[in-house]
């Protein structure tokens, strides 16, 4: 069954990818969507079997690599962590497949799109079911490729190509860390299979590498290297720049890959590696700091964006920060819980935004929207649900997971825990502010669109609305359905051995013991954010302008994403370009080509001309050449004998 879940999307992708043109649009959509829907249904069954009835297992498919000390199998590891991810991935993926049928109805290459989506789903499933680091890396790179293909799906747009390349290249940086982490793991433990690695970890505490004369704690180093991989994929601060640009892809792609599933791979990885991370306090602290900073940073940028999808993209980035610092304070269940709930409400928001864009004939700038709520009421309601969940207003899903994360961070009682907590609270305030900013700018006030666009505004077809409704149900109910199992009393039993939390890291279990004010803080600032947004954008629309003038520097910084792209451009891209140009023209063109192919060819021609010029046609020249030859040989022997 697990095998079917993983490989059905692959089969569908291959069939549609190869024969899409022959099959036609309709058949392609049916095959891929059908395959993923079946996978989703099977995932529910697997979830019940594995997560609720605790039948964990590992299915070995075949031997992959067997070279002396290194043995790697293709295997499907089924435990609660995997089951949750299967449910999330297949659930969102199937909804996105269905949604795409409607959203992409005007596109010319539907089969290609559907094939990519299914390919992505397969790679993601491969990633979450991996039984060892190499297989995980395979899935990791697979989703990277699929993401590249989908961001650049409209390959006739230069900006889409640039964004695709950017996503791929930035991810390579993270992947480089990941692969170094894999090497380090193999170096330390001699195996890459999870169970064997985890069993060996406690014995490796305190070991050191010697690197350039420094003694580096081996476990911390390995963990941080792997974490760098997670940072790249999950767009954490520093490696986040690709995510907003990735919005160049079609909106369903943004919903599936850049909100619900792929970007959460990093969080999943941290949880999967919890038995390793737990033994390295330093690595955990790094995770917390990076996560907390990302949360507030992305939220601040989100406030100033005007592109509806970019707002949600930064929101995603920010929420991923929450999940990371949750993992960093050892609240892995909370991280996973937030991952699951976030998947449903963020997919809902993206698809809702897609519905808006669809209605506005492709317009994404919120400054050109407004007053849409009467025209597309269903989408409006669904966006409200999504935003409420995102802002953490009870009883929506986000409330349960986000609150748990913040409480766990406070309850951890460490300095980095408090750091994360306060930044998280601030980010929560900003989150609700920009969410309602989005809502008010899009749906309320006077319309700023030209009337030609307005004439065409229409509610989306049911094939797009139904997935939204399903996801909305998730956004409403996922929280209180899952709270007991994921982070409540049944937590230990539910997760089983898939997540390890040392006794010294029990912030999550003790979150009821924190001061009441601290636990209500998130809710208070959430509501405050909504109110502020209401004042700014509904009551007195002149305020934002006045405010931006008053705090111009701050606003500019937020609008320009804290100048990350510019800094990178200056520090890395430009020097790389110069270096690349220099190596190309100077190194490759002059030295390699000059001495290599071109040079050899030129020398060959020159020698050839010279060799044939020896042939003068005069007999006495020839005779003289012979004499010189004789002389050389005779001299050679005389000299070598003496």
């Amino acid at each position: 069954m697990a095998t079917a879940i993983v490989f059905l999307p692959l089969i569908a992708a291959i069939i549609v990818g190869l024969f899409g043109r022959t099959l036609g649009d309709r058949a392609s959509q049916l095959i891929t969507t059908g395959a993923v829907l079946v996978s989703a249904i099977l995932s529910v069954l697997v979830f019940k079997d594995v997560a609720l009835d605790h039948h964990t297992s590992t299915v070995t498919l075949l031997k992959w690599i067997d070279t002396g000390p290194l043995t790697v199998d293709w295997a499907i590891r089924l435990d609660t962590l995997t089951a949750v991810m299967l449910l999330v991935v297949n659930g969102v993926s199937s909804m996105v497949h269905v949604y795409s049928i409607g959203y992409m109805s005007h596109d010319h290459s539907k089969p290609r799109f559907m094939a990519y989506l299914s390919l992505f789903t397969f790679a993601m499933l491969m990633l979450v079911t991996a039984d060892n680091l190499v297989q995980m890396f395979f899935g990791w790179e697979g989703v990277g490729v699929a993401s590249y293909l989908l961001i650049g799906f409209w390959y006739d747009r230069p900006s889409a190509n640039a964004a695709a390349i950017k996503a791929f290249v930035v991810n390579r940086v993270g992947d480089f860390g990941f692969s170094l982490g894999i090497f380090a793991t193999f170096f330390m433990f001699g195996t890459l299979q999870f169970d064997q690695v985890f069993a060996a970890v406690p014995g490796a505490v305190g070991k050191t590498f010697e690197f350039l004369g420094y003694h580096v704690d081996a476990l911390t180093c390995t963990s941080i290297l792997l974490f760098i991989g997670a940072m790249g994929k999950s767009a954490q601060l520093g490696l986040h720049t690709w995510l907003p640009d990735a919005m160049e892809g079609p909106t369903p792609v943004s919903a599936l890959i850049h909100a619900a599933t792929m970007v959460t791979a990093g969080v999943f990885m941290l949880c999967r590696l919890s038995p390793m991370l737990e033994y390295s306090q330093d690595a955990l602290n790094v995770v917390v700091v990076i996560g907390g900073t990302t949360a507030i940073f992305a939220a601040s940028v989100g406030m100033a964006q005007n592109d509806i999808k970019r707002v949600i993209a930064y929101s995603t980035c920010s929420q991923l920060g929450y999940m990371f610092f949750a993992a960093g304070v050892s609240a892995y269940p909370a991280a996973m819980f937030h991952l699951a709930t976030h998947a449903s409400f963020k997919a809902l928001l993206f698809l809702g935004a897609g519905s808006v864009i669809h209605a506005m004939s492709g317009e994404q700038d919120m400054r050109k929207m407004g007053g849409l709520w009467k025209l597309i009421p269903v989408t409006y309601v669904l966006m409200w649900i999504g935003n409420l969940a995102l802002a953490g207003i009870p009883p929506f899903a986000g409330y349960f997971s986000k609150d748990a994360i913040l409480e766990a961070a406070y309850a951890a009682g460490t300095p980095v825990g408090y750091y994360a907590y306060w930044l998280g609270i601030a980010a929560a305030f900003l989150t609700s502010f920009y969410s309602w900013r989005l809502l008010f700018m899009t749906f309320h006030g006077k319309s700023r669109a030209d009337h030609h666009t307005l004439e065409h505004v229409h509610e989306s077809p049911s094939v797009m609305v139904v997935p939204l409704v399903v996801l909305a149900l998730g956004a409403i109910f996922a929280g209180w359905i899952g709270v007991d199992h994921f982070i409540g009393e049944d937590m230990g039993e539910f997760w089983g051995k898939s997540i390890l939390m040392l006794d010294t890291h029990q912030g999550l279990a003790h979150r009821d013991e924190i001061p009441p004010l601290m636990s209500y803080m998130a809710l208070i600032v959430g509501v405050a954010g909504i109110v502020l947004a209401w004042i700014f954008y509904v009551v007195s629309p002149g305020l934002p302008g006045a405010f931006t003038k008053a705090a111009k520097t701050l606003y500019e910084a937020c609008l320009n994403k804290w100048y990350f792209d510019e800094i990178y451009d200056f520090l890395i891209v430009k020097p790389s370009m110069w270096l690349g140009w220099g190596l190309w023209k100077g190194g490759d063109g002059m030295i390699i080509d000059g001495l290599g192919p071109d040079g050899v060819a030129a020398v060959t021609r020159g020698l050839s001309r010279r060799a044939s010029r020896l042939q003068t046609g005069y007999v006495y020249h020839y005779a003289f050449a012979m004499l010189i030859g004789v002389l050389c040989l005779v001299s050679w022997y005389l000299l070598s004998q003496r």
Binding site: F624, L627, I628, V630, L631, V634, S635, L638
Partner: protein, 204 residues
């Protein structure tokens, strides 16, 4: 012994000198004449070695035939030797250098000549000089027996040389009157002589 040594150095010295003159003389006819002189001296060296038959052959064949042929060729063909020598100055230094180095090396090599004891066994004369009195007899005895292969092979080479000379130079020219002896002999009186009756006092 002193006399034979003196004779050797005389012949050898003149041979080398005349060899030098062959290549340096301005007039090609002089060159050929010096060549003949060199041949004569070589024949003298043969006589000193007791090979009087070879000495005579050398004089008869080389001086009597080859060198005289050369002389005819040189005199008949109007070759501008001065033009041929024009480039010699620019090549002279290099050519001399190569020649001198090669010569020096060969002197070193030949100077180190020493016959190993095993070798001496092979150098014993093939023909017992006591049995055959003269050179000519001794050569005749081995030429058609021991060296028959080389002898016949040389014969083939000469045959090829002859064929080659004919192939490359012989042409059947039209309009050349040849003497055909069989035709001359087989002519009957009837086709040669016509008897004409001439009336007396009239002339033909």
């Amino acid at each position: 012994m002193i006399l034979s040594a003196l004779a050797f150095y005389l012949f050898a010295g003149i041979a080398v000198l005349s060899g030098l003159m062959v290549i340096t003389a301005r007039n090609p006819v002089h060159s050929v004449l010096f060549l003949i002189l060199a041949f004569f001296n070589a024949a003298g060296l043969f006589v000193l070695l007791g090979a009087e038959f070879l000495a005579m052959i050398l004089v008869v064949v080389y001086v009597g035939a080859v060198a005289v042929l050369f002389l005819f060729v040189v005199m008949m063909l109007d070759i501008n030797f001065a033009a041929l020598r024009r480039g010699i100055r620019q090549h002279l230094a290099l050519g001399l250098a190569v020649g001198i180095v090669l010569l020096a090396e060969l002197v070193i090599v030949v100077g180190a000549w020493a016959v190993a004891p095993e070798v001496a066994a092979h150098t014993a004369p093939i023909v017992n000089s006591a049995v055959t009195a003269t050179n000519t007899q001794a050569l005749g005895a081995i030429l058609y027996t021991r060296y028959i292969y080389a002898f016949e092979g040389s014969g083939l080479i000469l045959l090829v040389a002859m064929i080659g000379a004919i192939v490359l130079t012989h042409r059947a020219r039209a309009g050349v009157r040849r003497q055909v002896i069989s035709k001359q002999i087989s002519r009957s009186r009837a086709e040669t002589i016509e008897v004409v009756k001439v009336p007396t006092g009239h002339g033909i």
